[in-house]
């Protein structure tokens, strides 16, 4: 090992493997092309000031969502490759991926989809929506918010770098020891996995701290807890789970790193190590993680179903209680991920029953959504399609989950394709459909124009049909003994089912392409689809009170909240009186300054992470010193905020009032 470059040599670049090599070259060329294009239209200063260094929660939210969607394409490419390979590698045929490569792909697929697709998307929506719904101007710690984003981006960068330099883990998305120990995985793959997750994990913990503080301490006057929109409640529950669960992940991965780098014996086969300890620790994080993702998704569905049914959410309080019940129960079920460990009948029975109990609050939620629709004047816009599609399919996924929660059943279908079908059946309708619904629902708020409905519905049908084709056969295959993560399939009678699944994957792929088409088409025709009122869906919560897109400071004056559905009541009162509330006394507004500290921090974190992966110790030290220097330099600043002059606030606010008055006259005349 060289002292200058560590383990890094020319052989790290996969010259003899065409698939990763060509993919990397295509990605590098594409990135370079985007960079040249941005330079050509001279957009770097704009990006730097408005996005990269922004402390505006809306901009940071958009960056998170862009990161998540980009990584979705990467994770999806992995999925198509696996499905295509499975279809080809049956009986005498060997497919086109060797086992080494196939194992890396399913590990990367899981890691990317959970950590760098679902997490950034969910956090992105929380960033964009929560302060607006609470009627405030920003999160509690705007600069830290920017740092969180860039640390997540740094983790995503490292995972993707493994495609071009070295390899990725072949250990599955949770890197179980002893396979992930140095003795059995000597390469840099597991190190890429560990370092990338540690860096992005720090960002996630900071996000958790930030949002719990925001929701508990920063709300508009009058916005008491039981007046908060359900999305804010779910965001609170999700971030509480982040604070309680992510440090466990950090500790667990740190222990595995100590095993690998310094020869400790936490999870090794020798020295008294215990690999089942890793299972317990990782799933104490891993199971709450499921709810970190799905609770905000439930929040999105709640907002959508109430808005498009034109009714208040049925059973608002029971929804809040159900959310918090899931929040607590999620910490009592981790052992159901390894009933086969052999902990004994009593332990398994406890965790089996606890797992089934989660079905109760989840059922409460499903009924609440149904009853919200019942008797309402339901408008079938794209977000509503996703919500109904979710309810139909998610119930099935939930029921197979209850099946898996029965320990004797789990002994039979453990680690099978039945399990793969189950968790895709909860995560895709549960989280991905919610993300698609939220994307369509809040897009006009973020950019000032709506997305095309027809194309949006086409995308929905692709996802809905494609998902069912791609995963329902796996339930059967699992019953017939199909285990997960198989690189080769020996039973030729499975070919038709695997063929259906491949078709399903292509249908979803077509949906992803249509999504891009929808975006491009909507941008091109944006002048016909402007949202001038700031309230395109006849909304009920405070984000629809302000303009689309909202000014940096969101609200010229913080709204005064007098009940649940703060905006809806205000709107109805205004329609009744055909007048807005009297013009308030506008004041200059203090807003946090932009800061490059996040991106610089992430730069040093990436360098340090890269150095650790490749054993380049001097560079790791440089990275650490750099990061510390940035902190001290940042702490030395004297200016935290800049003042938005009152004239600007008044000008913006009057324009908004004029637009709203016009809209109001139309509404008053129509009722």
């Amino acid at each position: 090992m060289s002292p200058i470059l560590g383990k890094l040599t020319w052989s790290a670049i996969p010259f003899e493997e065409p698939i990763p090599l060509i993919t990397s070259i295509v990605v590098i060329v594409a990135l370079a092309a985007v960079a040249i294009w941005i330079t050509k239209i001279k957009a770097w200063p704009y990006l730097w000031h408005e996005y990269i260094t922004s402390t505006d929660h809306k901009r940071i939210g958009i960056m998170y969502i862009v990161l998540g969607l980009a990584m979705l394409v990467r994770g999806f490419a992995d999925a198509i490759m696996m499905r295509a390979h499975q279809f080809l590698a049956i009986g005498p045929h060997q497919g086109y991926l060797n086992p080494e490569h196939y194992d890396q792909i399913f590990s990367a697929h899981g890691t990317i989809m959970i950590f760098f697709v679902a997490m950034p998307l969910v956090i992105g929506f929380m960033n964009f929506v929560v302060p607006l719904q609470l009627g405030v101007r920003d999160v509690a710690f705007p600069t830290m918010n920017n740092v969180s984003f860039w640390l997540s981006a740094s983790g995503a960068l490292l995972v993707n770098l493994s495609l071009f330099l070295g390899e990725f883990a072949r250990t599955g998305w949770l890197a179980f020891p002893p396979l992930s120990e140095k003795a059995f995985s000597p390469g840099v793959g597991v190190d890429y996995y560990l370092v990338a997750l540690q860096i992005s994990g720090v960002g996630t913990v900071l996000t958790g701290v930030n949002f719990v503080t925001t929701i508990l301490k920063i709300r508009a006057p009058g916005m008491s807890y039981l007046r908060m929109p359900v999305f804010c409640w779910t965001a609170l529950a999700s971030n509480l789970l982040i604070i309680a669960a992510f440090p466990v992940l950090t500790a667990t991965l740190a222990m595995l790193m100590l095993d690998r780098y310094l020869g400790f014996h936490f999870f090794t086969n020798d020295g008294g190590g215990n690999s089942m300890l890793y299972m317990n620790l990782i799933w104490v994080w891993g199971h709450p993680e499921v709810y970190i993702l799905v609770l905000p998704a439930f929040g999105i569905y709640s907002e959508v179903v109430s808005t498009f049914s034109g009714k208040p959410l049925f059973g608002y309080r029971s929804m809040v209680f159900a959310t918090l019940a899931i929040c607590i129960l999620s910490f009592t079920v981790w052992l159901h991920h390894f009933f086969t460990m052999g902990a004994g009948a009593d332990v398994n029975a406890f965790f089996g029953i606890a797992s089934m109990l989660i079905g109760i609050p989840t059922g409460v939620k499903i009924y609440n959504w149904l009853f919200t629709m019942y008797g309402g004047r339901v408008r079938f816009n794209v977000p509503m399609y996703y919500t109904i599609g979710f309810m139909l399919t998610f119930v099935l996924g939930g029921l197979t989950g209850v099946l898996l929660a029965i320990p004797p059943v789990d002994f039979i279908v453990h680690n099978s394709l039945f399990l793969v079908a189950h968790f895709h059946n909860v995560i895709i309708p549960g989280v991905v459909f919610a993300i698609m619904a939220g994307y369509t629902y809040w897009f006009p708020k973020a950019f000032g124009f709506t997305l095309d409905e027809r194309l949006g519905k086409a995308v929905f049908w692709c996802w809905f049909i494609g998902f069912n084709l791609a995963f329902m056969p796996s339930y059967l295959l699992g019953f017939w003994g199909g285990t997960r993560r198989m690189q080769h399939i020996s039973d030729p009678s499975w070919r038709p089912w695997l063929g259906i699944e491949l078709v399903g994957a292509f249908v979803i792929g077509f949906g992803v392409v249509l999504m891009v088409v929808q975006l491009v088409y909507s941008i091109r025709t944006r002048d016909q689809r402007r949202d001038l009122t700031g309230d395109p869906w006849d909304g009920r919560t405070l984000e629809w009170l302000t303009l689309s897109p909202p000014p940096h400071y969101n609200f010229a004056v913080l709204p005064d909240v007098h009940g649940e559905e703060a905006y809806w009541h205000r709107k109805q009162e205004a329609i009744e009186r055909d007048a807005l509330i009297a013009e308030p006394d506008y004041q200059p507004i203090e807003m946090p300054l932009n800061t490059p500290v996040g991106v610089i921090c992430a730069f040093f974190a990436s360098i340090c992470g890269f150095a650790v992966i490749w054993y380049i110790w001097w560079l790791a030290i440089v990275g650490l010193i750099g990061a510390f220097a940035v902190f001290v330099w940042y702490a030395w600043r004297d200016e935290h905020e800049h003042i938005i002059p009152v004239e600007e606030v008044i000008a913006n606010a009057r324009e908004r009032r004029r637009v709203r008055m016009e809209n109001l006259h139309q509404l008053s005349q129509s009722t």
Binding site: I218, G273, D560
Partner: protein, 213 residues
Amino acid sequence: MSNSEAAAIGLTHRGSEDTGLGQRGPQSKSIVVPYGFWLFVLSDMVLFSALFATYASLVHATDGGPVTSQLFDRTTVAIETLALLISSFICGLAMITAKRKNLLWTQIWLLLTGLTGFIFLLIELTEFVGMIRIGAGPQRSAFLSSFFTLVGCHGAHVTAGLMWIGTMMAQIWAKGFREDILRRLLCLSVFWHALDIIWVAIFTIVYLIGTLP
């Protein structure tokens, strides 16, 4: 309470009704910053709880190597603990003088906080080096891996705290007792005391139980 009564004692915000559940609009930074920091400390405690759980499940996995009672010395640990507790007490004094904006004494107390913390760290390092010398390093057994990680993680936190104390002393010296700097001092003291709490747990679970006859 009627609205006017509530207004009289400053409980309402522009006429909205108040039930005393924090509906007065966004809280000031002097509330928000320490609150957020408390949450961070809480997440740190969760991290330690994972390490404690690991230690508890691996403490007997000695792989034929040394066991707890052969390695720990109560007297050394008592001195170590004393150093850390005194450090925390002095940190409290620093906070009092900072509140009175007494520059000289704040600096002196902060320096002494750091020094006593440093003494703690030195004793810990001596213990570590001694153990590694007799072949009881972290690579020896799962028990020793978990011991070095748990206690070492606390030590790493103390080291970070020392760097923070140094930075704060420089900031007070250069910028005086600005409001934001006082907030940071408050966070620093929360952090320092939290490390004490964790140490008390380490002292009990690792050293006291480990040296029971």
